[in-house]
């Protein structure tokens, strides 16, 4: 029986490799791929990347998201809003007479805001007017890029972001876009003048009605009524004037 001696003791692997490769290459392969081979402790974890498995996971995640999203309340679309008719004035309500008291309220409100500036006008009055609310104002379209709008006169029923809704004397609600249009607003203002004593008449105070007239440039005014209150208006160069 041949007993392998210590000197010749090579592993079986080395022996086999020496048979196939040259000695240098054989030692290299032996060190890298046999002796220094990493041994996993748990060879099957993480689980192998399986396309089907990945697809299943993705579908599950998407379903979960959709469920949570459908639970959130969504805003109405434009068609749905129109169908609801929340902002439409009903036929019986489209009467000029109905809005006249509102107009008087508005006149009182404007006189109150402006105070003494009703008589003097100027920068301060302009700033106050720009941030004022215009629901119930009596406006007349004075200049417009679209010539058919000129002459429309009435009380503002809705002050939207881009247009005014105006009810005219003939009980029609007209939508007038603000772009390229100039509106004129008149506020009647009592003017008190003193008359000197004349023979038999006693000294009296005459009250005359005078008007404060101002023009609104629709181009610069395209903001919602609520947003205008906090806005600082700056003079912009107008391309159309």
């Amino acid at each position: 029986m041949i007993v392998p001696t210590k000197k010749d003791h090579q592993s079986i692997a080395a022996d086999l490799l020496n048979r196939a490769f040259e000695s240098e290459e054989a030692t290299k392969i032996l060190t890298e791929k046999v002796i220094q081979r990493p041994l996993f402790l748990c060879p099957t974890s993480p689980p192998p990347a399986d396309a089907r498995h990945a697809r299943q996971l993705a579908a599950k995640r998407a379903k979960e998201q959709r469920r949570t999203k459908s639970l959130k309340p969504k805003p109405l679309s434009a068609t749905q809003r129109k169908k609801q008719g929340l902002y439409q004035i009903p036929k019986e309500g489209q009467k000029y007479k109905l809005f006249e008291p509102l107009h008087n309220l508005w006149l009182g409100y404007i006189r109150e805001i402006l105070g003494n500036e009703v008589y003097t006008g100027g920068e301060a009055a302009a700033a106050k007017l720009a941030s004022a609310d215009f629901h119930g104002a009596g406006v007349e379209v004075v200049r417009s890029g679209c010539v058919s709008r000129v002459g429309t006169k009435g009380i503002v029923v809705k002050d939207g972001k881009f247009a005014f809704e105006i009810v005219t004397v003939k009980n029609k609600v007209k939508v007038v876009p603000k772009e390229g249009t100039i509106f004129r607003v008149e506020v009647p203002v009592p003017v008190v003048t003193k008359t000197i004593e004349v023979a038999e008449e006693k000294e009296g105070e005459e009250k005359k009605q005078s008007k404060m007239v101002f023009e609104l440039h629709g181009d610069q005014f395209q903001f919602r009524s609520a947003d205008r209150a906090t806005r600082k208006f700056r003079a912009h160069f107008s391309k159309t004037l």
């Binding site: 200049r143 417009s144 890029g145 010539v147 709008r149 000129v150 002459g151 391309k239 004037l241």
Partner: protein, 356 residues
């Protein structure tokens, strides 16, 4: 089919020359069809009228013009457009009468209003147009539409929809009150001799202006050959006509301008002027009569008919009418008529047309 392009904005004025034969002019049936008459009637507001005749027939001319009708007069009045469109003035003069009115200003720069045959034409800038609210067409330079174009608004005041209460008329009156409220100076000419009584124009205290003719007599000038050259085939070739007509037109214009170059006694240094009266010219004596004012084309036509009937057919005469200038460049349209001597009905007509 032929399709004509829209004209570019500025084109220089063009002169159209017509050489033809008129039919017999019957005083009872004034002609209105055919070339010299349509050209005269096609002008809108005539400013200057000139007549050049040989001195010998001046007496006949004087008799004709002074006998037929009064010296043409026109009025200058200050009123606003609102006054024209409402009240007695509107119902008497515009709905029933035949008037010509034109407002002060130049068409490319100011807001000008012109009224003829019941058609009101307004030449407006952008602001006035947007404030008026009337529908119109853009006018002038085509490109760069966004920057301040000008607009023309045309309204037919004679139509049945122009009465109070109708929407079109109300919008017009609204525009005249709000956009064109300021009174303007107008020139007014009544086409018919009938004046309604009481005169609605009297309220506005018009200043009446008569355009009496300015007469220059006994001009010793060199008169060129005024008979168009005829070649053997009895039809003038285009080149000959061009030469002849441009020379004669130049001479006629110099006479109208009272230029000393056409005088017999003129000796100007060729360094200063190269003009020579065309060859074959004979000395003669001329008389020039000019009217300057605001005339209607019907008056000019009638005057010419009277002259043709009155003057003996062997004398020559030249009659020219010039309109008010339109547009920025100040071009105007003009019609010059020449009847050559010893011709029966032959005439030469120069029409200068500006692009507007």
């Amino acid at each position: 089919m032929l399709s004509f392009q829209q004209p570019a904005f500025y084109q220089s004025s063009k002169c159209f020359v017509t050489h033809g034969v008129m039919g017999h002019v019957d005083p009872k049936q004034p002609p209105s069809k055919g070339k010299p008459w349509t050209a005269l009637a096609g002008q809108d507001f005539v400013c200057t009228v000139d007549l050049i005749v040989p001195q010998e027939v001046f007496g006949i001319v004087q008799e004709t013009l002074w006998k037929n009708e009064a010296i043409p007069e026109y009025k200058r009045v200050v009123m606003s457009l609102h006054d024209i469109l409402t009240g007695d003035f509107f119902s008497n003069y515009i709905k029933q009468g035949n008037i010509l009115m034109i407002s002060e200003g130049r068409r490319g720069i100011d807001n000008v209003f012109a009224l003829k045959n019941g058609h009101l034409t307004m030449f407006l800038d952008k602001e006035a147009y947007e404030r008026a609210g009337l529908v119109g067409k853009p006018h002038g330079v085509k490109g760069k539409r966004g920057l301040k174009p000008r607009w023309i608004v045309e309204v037919d005041l004679n139509s049945s929809s122009m009465i109070k209460g109708k929407k079109g008329y109300d919008r017009l009156v609204y525009a005249s009150k709000n956009a064109f409220g300021a009174p303007m100076t107008w020139l007014f000419c009544n086409g018919t001799p009938i004046v309604p009584d009481p005169d609605p124009l009297a309220v506005f205290s018009p200043t009446s202006c008569t355009s009496s003719p300015s007469i220059t007599q006994d001009v010793d000038a060199l008169v060129p050959i005024l008979i168009p050259p005829t070649s053997t085939s009895e039809q003038i070739s285009r080149d000959e006509l061009e030469d002849f007509s441009s020379e004669v037109y130049e001479w006629l214009s110099l006479v109208r301008l009272h230029s000393p170059r056409i005088l017999k006694s003129d000796k100007i240094d060729p360094y200063l002027s190269l003009y020579r009266v065309p060859g074959g010219s004979q000395p003669g004596r001329l008389c020039k009569i000019g009217w300057r004012g605001f005339f209607s084309p019907s008056w000019t036509r009638q005057t010419m008919i009277d002259l043709i009937i009155a003057l003996p057919s062997k004398t020559w005469f030249s009659f020219s009418t010039t309109t008010f200038s339109k547009g920025l460049a100040g071009d105007n349209t003009e019609c010059t008529f020449l009847r050559p001597p010893n011709s029966s009905g032959e005439y030469l007509l120069w029409e200068i047309k500006s692009h507007e």
